[in-house]
Amino acid sequence: MTENVLPDNYSAHHNSHPEHVSSVGSSVAIWITLLICTGLTVGAAFIDMGPFNTIAALCIATFKAILVVLFFMHVKYTHEKLTGLVIVSAIFFLFILLALSMADYATRLWN
Amino acid sequence: MPFWPDSASTTAGQVDALYIFMVLVSAIMTVLIFATLIFFAIKFRKRRGKEAEQIEGSTVLEITWSVIPFAVFLAFFVWGAVIYFQERTPPQDATEVYTVAKQWMWKFEHASGQREINELHVPVGRDVKLIMTSQDVIHSFYVPAFRIKQDVLPGRYTTFWFHATKPGTYHLFCAEYCGTQHSGMIGWIVVMEPRDYEAWMTGGGGNQPLAVTGQQLFSQFGCITCHRSDTQGRGPNLVGVYNKPVLLEDGRTVNADDNYIRESILDPGAKIVRGFKPIMPTFQGQITDEQLNALVAYVKSLTQSQAGQTPKAAGMGTATP
């Protein structure tokens, strides 16, 4: 029996990786960044940027979400590619739902 | 022909042609698959001393039987799309009939003011366009002999047009389940020779054209005080606005179609015309669907030529164009 016929769960691979323990320092740094971003998003809402207000708000929110996913949810440290795949699939299918629905609404007025 | 629906519109022939084409192609595909299945089933049935031969598969075959069917499918798609495009693009000069659906009846109002319930008289050989809305739930206007159906929605207009080719009486069904008496929400489309149709139209007598009703409502609701036919009004001049692009305050341009006029009456704040203040009150809940239809019909009747030639019909009241 060679290593390559074993599914991932049977290999020693996963057991050999030590669990990532997040350091207090980096966690606090992320926390502060998130708080600053919250302030930023409130501030940005009061500046007139035309249609870019919504875009700015969503960009900041996405940046915050990415920080939470990567650092607080440990995705940056995981050796498991599947986690990323699950996240990407969820976002992809959400995108499909929103985009194809809007494909209807946005083109209803066209003539 | 038994087991085949009447064909009474230009669309019907087109849909039938595509349908027959698809039935033939599908029949060929089905026969091929079934014949192969049956042939294999007999040829390769278990026999003493004869073992199965193992075959892994074939990429060439997989690609072949993906690409060829897909090409056939594309033909279905394109042909179907062409028909659909026609069905969804009403001709400009079609005779218009306003249709209001409610649980469980169809109400029609002709431009001439003639009203009908569950029965619609139309002339043969002329384009007819229905402008439809629902008072309650979703219904669907379905005439099998025309091969067309269109859902009728609360809160907005949908349209349906046809060009009848054969006089006769045809089924009208509600095709979208709409509650208890859904199967009772049926009626007849009576397609008549033009002569009979004219006779029928004048037969009722005493009908006031829809646009004239709309004109009266236009004064009654006070629309006329702001929407004047000159440039002095507090609201946009509505003469000739129908089916023309309108530049909005937020920079968008929309086409002033039936739905736009309807929305502007019910929800004036939704699309503000550039250069005007959003001061018009909403009429939501204050007018019925029938009144709304009449107003829309009136606004549509305000074409440039009419406004120039017959101020009365254009309904500008005291204001002179």
Partner: protein, 549 residues
């Protein structure tokens, strides 16, 4: 070879005789017992739904609405749809056969989360109780599609309890799917690589993706409907500017892929059966695996083809029609590959194979008529008519139910340790096939003639075809009752089944029938490809049967 021992007639401990008390069933975490709990529950709903169907067909025998009142009729087809779709077809194959077989097929002792599996069944039962309550309390008449604003503002029946039932059963389905994905990723035995998975497992993997990612959308949509009725949150209310089509978008985002939840597992079953009774490797294994994944993913992109006449934009309709044809390709590929698998095989015609033949034929017709509905010009005429009714019954009943029956026959010896009576099985398969076609083929013609669906009374010119259809339905009913009877009979009087009566490939055939509670005494190591029929020889004839290798 501890796991391949000859059954010695019930003496060996198996999952059935591991405990007899009610508690040993209701608190079990054994995936095989949970599968049987599911089997009982979905069979109940199948016959409830079937009973409604029969009443519907009887009503339609005459053009006048004379057997039941129109509101009763509306409740009948609504509850027929809800029982069949949410409580039979969707849990159907995955929660019964998938639950039973997937762990064994991949060499695992159980699903990854046995307690979650049991929770899933309890959720299903709670949802089912809501449904039963709804029926008892006078029914619901919105149609299984819950279209707004009919369901939110106008219907006066038990919409909220029905919605809750569907919502809760939806979570049962999500948990099943989640469990399968994790199990297939994490619990495979050594050597059971992705390229060696039986296609049954692949098709359940694809199904599970839809269950996990699609179901929540319909769940929240149904909750919004219930909230609109209960607390007047008007998300779909046209009076507040709500768009009636938004509900349809959200509903079909799930409910179109949901038809693939229903059909993909059936495709998995057929792949297993066709290979076994042709004694052949599957033709184009990779194409078949890719096809199920392709169907699952592309299936999410086509939902608005249910809405071509609903008032969506012209451009959206064009996009969705085109995408619909993309999803047809992998379905066609599957049919071609099954056919090619039989080429140069050594084919025998036991009951499961008859059902597999039935499936390929009926699914081909169901699939091809789907192309008609995907074509915009045709769809405008035939949508919301009996053409649609016939089409989806060809896929759901002719496809899924036929595959399910085929699978039940194929694995019945494994599940119960008893053989079903073969000649009765063949007879029932034939009756189902004839009854089915007689019921639903006339409906295609009815549909093109223009008979709208969900009609309680109809114009007299449609009567002849309706009579044929009703006649077919009674034959179909016999075809369904017959297996019920002989399956039950076989539990006591059927021949004792050997571990591998079909001499079939796959790990599930290498454990005793019925399997022991932990499936494998020792974790198997897989060193062979799926469907290694070249190494197995022929199906044993009756005389040879009890002698396993």
């Amino acid at each position: 070879m501890a796991t391949a021992v000859v059954v010695d007639h019930g003496e060996r401990e198996n999952y059935l005789n591991a405990g007899y008390g009610l508690k040993s069933w209701l608190l079990t975490r054994d995936h095989k017992r949970i599968a049987l709990l599911y089997l009982l529950s979905i069979t109940f709903f199948f016959f409830v739904g079937g009973f409604f169907a029969l009443l519907i067909r009887l009503e339609l025998l005459t053009p006048a609405g004379d057997l039941v009142q129109s509101d009763t009729y509306n409740k009948l087809f609504t509850m027929h749809g809800m029982s069949m779709i949410f409580f039979f077809l969707i849990p159907g194959v995955p929660a019964v056969l998938g639950n039973f077989l997937i762990p064994i097929m991949i060499g695992a002792k159980d699903l990854a989360f046995p307690r979650l599996n049991l929770l899933s069944w309890y959720l299903f039962i709670v949802g089912g109780l809501f449904m039963v309550y709804t029926i008892m309390a006078g029914g619901v008449d919105t149609g299984w599609t819950f279209y707004t604003p009919l369901s939110t503002e106008f219907a006066k029946t038990n919409v909220v309890t029905a919605a809750l039932g569907v919502f809760i059963a939806g979570f049962a389905s999500i948990l099943t799917g989640l469990n399968f994905i994790v199990t297939i990723h994490r619990m495979r035995a050594p050597g059971m690589t992705w390229n060696r998975l039986p296609l049954f497992v692949w098709s359940h993997y694809a199904t599970s993706i839809i269950q996990v990612l699609g179901t929540p959308v319909v769940a929240i949509t149904i909750v919004l409907v219930a909230l609109e009725r209960l607390f007047h949150l008007g998300v779909f209310n046209p009076a507040l500017g709500g768009d009636p089509l938004l509900f349809q978008h959200l509903f079909w985002f799930y409910s179109h892929p949901a038809v693939y939840i229903m059909i993909l597992p059936g495709m998995g079953i057929v792949s297993e059966i066709v290979c076994c009774f042709s004694r052949k490797r599957i033709f184009g294994y990779k194409a078949m695996a890719l096809a199920v994944l392709g169907i699952a993913v592309i299936g999410f992109l086509v939902w608005a083809h249910h809405m071509f006449v609903a008032g969506i934009s012209l451009y959206a309709a064009l996009i969705f029609s085109l995408l619909t044809y993309f999803v047809a390709v992998p379905s066609a590929v599957k049919v071609f590959n099954w056919t090619a698998t039989m080429y140069k095989g050594s084919i025998t015609y036991q009951t499961p194979m008859l059902y597999a033949f039935g499936f390929i034929g009926l699914f081909t017709i169901g699939g091809l008529t789907g192309l008609f509905l995907g074509s915009l010009g045709i769809d405008v005429h035939v949508t919301d008519t009996y053409f649609v009714v016939a089409h989806f019954h060809y896929v759901m009943v002719g496809g899924m139910v036929v595959a399910y029956l085929g699978g039940m026959h194929f694995w019945w010896p494994k599940i119960t340790g008893r053989m079903y009576p073969e000649s009765w099985g063949k007879l029932a398969a034939l009756i189902v096939f004839i009854g089915f076609n007689l019921t639903f083929f006339p409906q295609f013609i009815l549909g093109y003639m223009g008979m709208p669906r969900r009609y309680h009374a109809y114009p007299p010119e449609f009567q002849i075809l309706n009579i044929l259809s009703t006649a077919g339905a009674t034959i179909l009913a016999v075809g369904y009752l017959l297996p019920m009877v002989y399956f039950l009979w076989s539990l006591r009087y059927g021949e004792i089944a050997p571990a591998n009566p079909w001499n079939a490939a796959g790990l599930e055939w290498q454990v005793p029938s019925p399997p022991p509670t932990s499936n494998f005494d020792e974790t198997p190591v897989v060193t062979w490809e799926a469907y290694n029929y070249d190494e197995l020889g022929e199906i044993p004839t009756k005389q040879e049967v009890p002698v396993a290798h």
